[in-house]
Symmetry: C2
Subunit: 633 residues, 2 copies
């Protein structure tokens, strides 16, 4: 394990130059700072103590931001690299971004500098107890009172309590509240309002606002985030606190609707688009921790007195290698989506929307599963908190439900398939290429042309397979939809096939941009990625003519070769990721200590090893029997 990140060409390729530069700067700033390096064992702390520790670390990062002139993105990156430090990032990651996107120039000039310097601290309050995915169901009202030129915010019901609002439970002074604007009795739908919720000098709640910290999350995850619950009772804000970048409300109640509705999409597109890259980094951490253990651990089949390295078994390689390939794909494709988002005015918004929806589902489903696989591939010892694998799983796990639940979101892919099929308009959406194939009966009844195992390494063969699979599932979906079936479950399989194709294409394009020196490694990775998706996607071919039994056998053989040939490339990729010991924070990845030495060290430091505090209880338990004269005991 190193203390400084790798900066080779392959490292720059995987991380992207900008991100790698930020990462190096952040690690240099924190890696000798005792606030981060000498913190207590987080797994042993109570929620309250852990939250307090993370706040202290967050404030230290804030001071580093100001001192070193870090950008907001760099601060957000730092909260991730430094560990699970979540609350303060909300102001920079979500609040300011929404002010920039949705405020009028005058509003921006006043509010953004205050948020930038953390003089105020903001959050984004959309979700309600009763309204998650269905944003249109939001009940919070914001009624314009022309007499006072104010807007009166109310939570009319239990189900309209704002819920899951990050950083609201303790930290935030201001909230962007999504509420239905009511003007002269007319419901104008959801709008965004800036509401001050805490006093800037005392941090007391403002009148007419109730806030509770939400409580503990499952598996102890997101312990450092103070999600909040909030209700309003006739809470008055100035009319000018309605965000007026797209819409506006005059003092006389005249309402000016949005001319450009693009913005309604963009906020979600951005957040979902960024998830792929962020998830990829966490998955890579988990897989690399597991690989380090698998390189060390030996079990069964001794030769010359040494058992076989676990990493040499097919059961480990077949789990960790595809997961590593997917992690890289998530990062590369995520970065490409980020570039498209930054250039959003030149983009087909629907195409980008469908890509980010598919990527969000695909990356969160695979990402969570792959972190779990990494933990399981370490066997029993993977269950120790000190490996870091359990908390990585817990941290990623909710990504399948936040920012759009997997099955609800999948319907957007299904709906797009139906719409463009009916309108014969798939040529406008590059991701729906398989619909053109579906219109061509000749292509749908064709058999795969593969003759031997090596053919499966050919990109056109891979694309043909993945496109055929997506077409078969699209045909099924169109049939289901036509006969009125509730497709909300089955559409998931189509979505994953759709996204396999998107990721496959994106990865192929990225591989071509890698340096010549690293091309072989990246091509090997692309083959592991592709052949895994194909082998795992065979179910759609049951009953189809496309594949023969010989095809299936030769595909499995090709996949076996891709996996067994990947070991040296995997090592090169682990090098290029170049995670420091601080970043991995795992007993399986310590410098100067083997995993076994590390595990023993953890036990020696357990605060329960000194059990003097429970001895009276134990001695009492062992003499309890004397009180009871039963024959049995």
């Amino acid at each position: 394990m190193t203390t400084t990140p790798s900066t080779t060409a392959l490292a720059n390729f995987i991380w992207g130059e900008e991100r790698l530069k930020r990462r190096c700067d952040i690690l240099a700033a924190i890696s000798s700072n005792p606030v981060f390096t000498q913190s207590p064992n987080s797994h042993a702390l109570s929620r309250k103590d852990l939250w307090t520790l993370r706040l202290k670390q967050g404030v230290e990062l804030l001071e580093l931001k100001f001192k070193l002139g870090w950008s907001n993105q760099q601060f957000v990156d730092a909260t991730k690299i430094a560990g699970d430090i979540l609350s303060l990032g909300v102001n920079f990651r979500i609040f300011i971004r929404n002010l920039e996107a949705q405020m009028s120039p005058e509003q921006k000039a006043y509010w953004i500098p205050r948020a930038e310097r953390f003089e105020i601290s903001g959050c984004y309050a959309q979700t309600e107890l009763g309204h998650g995915s269905n944003v249109r169901g939001i009940e919070t009202t914001a009624t314009f009172d022309p007499k006072t030129d104010e807007i009166v915010v109310n939570s009319p019901t239990l189900s309209s309590h704002k819920y899951w609002i990050g950083s609201l439970g303790i930290v935030a002074t201001h909230a962007l509240v999504i509420a239905r604007l009511i003007v002269q009795g007319k419901d104008l739908g959801n709008h965004v309002f800036l509401v001050q919720v805490r006093d800037l000098d005392t941090h007391e709640l403002m009148p007419n606002v109730k806030i509770y910290e939400q409580g503990e999350k499952g598996m102890s995850t997101f312990a450092s985030m103070d999600n909040g619950v909030m209700a309003f009772t006739d809470c008055r804000i100035p009319r000018t606190n309605m965000l007026a970048g797209m819409v506006s409300l005059d003092p006389d109640g005249t309402y000016h609707a949005a001319k450009n509705t693009k913005h309604a999409y963009t906020s979600m597109v951005i957040i979902r688009g960024l998830m792929s890259e962020e998830l990829g980094i966490e998955v890579a951490k988990a897989v690399i921790i597991a690989l380090k253990y698998a390189e060390f651990r030996r079990q069964f089949n001794p030769k010359d007195g040494l058992e076989r390295r676990v990493v040499e078994y097919a059961s480990v390689q077949n789990r960790l290698f595809p997961a590593l390939a997917r992690a890289v794909a998530m990062m590369l494709l995520g970065r490409e989506m980020r570039a498209r988002i930054d250039n959003i005015i030149n983009e087909s918004l629907e195409d980008l929307h469908l890509q980010t929806v598919g990527a969000k589902i695909w990356a969160s489903e695979h990402g969570v599963r792959d972190v779990e696989i990494a933990r399981l591939s370490c066997g029993g010892h993977g269950n120790m908190a000190s490996t870091g694998l359990g908390s990585l799983y817990a941290q990623l796990s909710p990504s399948r439900t936040y920012e759009g639940e997997t099955y609800v979101l999948s319907q957007q892919i299904g709906n797009a398939v139906v719409k463009h099929w009916k309108n014969t308009s798939e040529q406008s959406i590059s991701a729906l290429s398989y619909l053109a194939r579906l219109r061509d009966a000749r292509r749908m009844s064709q058999k795969s042309q593969v003759a031997g195992s090596d053919d499966w390494f050919s990109p056109p063969v891979q694309e043909d397979f993945l496109e055929h699979r997506a077409a078969v599932l699209a045909r099924r979906h169109l049939g289901d939809a036509a006969r009125g079936k509730d497709t909300s479950y089955d559409v998931f399989e189509l979505t994953m096939a759709h996204a396999d194709l998107t990721y496959w294409r994106g990865l192929q394009a990225q591989v071509k941009q890698s340096a010549q020196h690293d091309r072989e490694t990246m091509e090997a990775l692309a083959n592991v990625f592709a052949l895994n998706a194909m082998v795992e996607g065979l179910a759609a071919f049951a009953g189809e003519e496309y594949l023969s039994a010989e095809h299936v056998a030769s595909l499995r053989l090709a996949y076996q070769h891709a996996i067994s040939g990947f070991a040296t490339h995997a090592r090169a990729l682990v090098e290029a990721f170049g995670f420091t010991e601080y970043e991995l924070n795992s007993v399986f990845a310590r410098s100067g200590q083997t995993p076994y030495e590390g595990l023993l060290d953890v036990a020696k430091q357990s605060e329960l090893t000194d059990n003097v505090f429970v001895r009276p209880t134990l001695l009492r338990a062992r003499s309890l029997w004397k009180k009871y004269g039963r024959a049995k005991i």
Copy 2:
């Protein structure tokens, strides 16, 4: 939610009469005991405080055991029903059972009463840091010293430290230590030794033994278990402390080997065999918590002002209904295995071994996945600790690695397939029926005879399908093994198909034993179970002649009917499970409170809601900018 369990015929059928009786007695004893009902919020506690709380509750259960004359099994049941109370159960669940199985009559007469009355408290020390699945690799040595008539126990290396030993970290006074017996320089392999590790009066460690509590487990699970690490340095025990039920060692060093090696198998057979039933109960809890939420929660598609109940969506039904069916199958088949184990002398040990191996893998893989599915089907709110879903996942998660890791264990199925194929001996093992099919080329090339969707509800059709699938995967495995492929990954799919068939057969037999009044419900459940396994098992049919595209379509249609017709039966089953509010311990399943009311209540009780303790830090953070004169801020 009720406070007393359901005791209808269906309840008795699902739980089994004995278990239901024990459960009723336990709930009656604890449901008004403040040690259990007034305990603090476990999710907010530090590991040390949580451990101390659970110990106090465990001692209270011990006193109830003595007071009310509970059997060991009843005490173990109570530690589960009362919550996550693990440490004290080891003495009764594992230690005493091993004393009974492996001690000589004289040893039993002395030791078992002491353990029964908890005068001593035992644990089972097999796993080492470097040796989990490969028990033959165990390094701890037990060298006979004829001069003193003692056995000298040593941990020669770091990797021979005993590790993962439940109840050893704090509680145990005695350990059953698995070590290599060395007599006159000759290594006689693993044997079991009773070693006293703590003083009975002071609870201090015995000389020459080092023990550390192992530290926190990932996702905060098993927090109430004090797993321990242990090393020996010339630790001397009397020769008579070697367990002498099967083997013995004379004072002169003469060694008498075991005549009956059946016992070597039985301990693992028993533990794995019991897992299916225990897992089923936990899965049922999770699914029922999720069903209660899905009955309450509404989202999208409003009719008459009310959105649609989430439980009515295919995306929820297709996830929760098969999971409920599997949970029932795990309980019923687990109970059947328990009966076979109790009658072990009349059983084919290999057949029972293969069944328990398959069941252990199948039940842990499906069980963990189904608990996760239950949580995910509750959307974002499922991530709150107070739903109980996160801790159920965390608690079940390691079941895939303990008592035999899934992939390592799967090889035992693969090896049995190869052995019996070569020896044409499959008729001796009922679970390998599909090998006979594989020998019959005519049957392997046959097409399914299904004509219409209804045919899929016929048990012979279902069995034919599942057997064909297992045969296809066995053929693949035999081919892979013949060409020397490392099958350690691929054999997993065969194992699951093998176990699908075992569970399908067992469930069919069980359904026939249900009361006439409940037969329709149980048949509906068996169809959901079967058709789900078939739809999820289509991958094996890619490239095969067995299914046509029409078959796949009609199978999917049949499955859709099975699911959508199951809603009323699911409600009957939830009733029959009859979990009390105390057992479910979930904010989604409280009497007199809706899930939303419960979630708000949890927030009101969060100890972080009163944030006075961090206000100075927050105020400092919001004025930090004044120290830094950058133009930017």
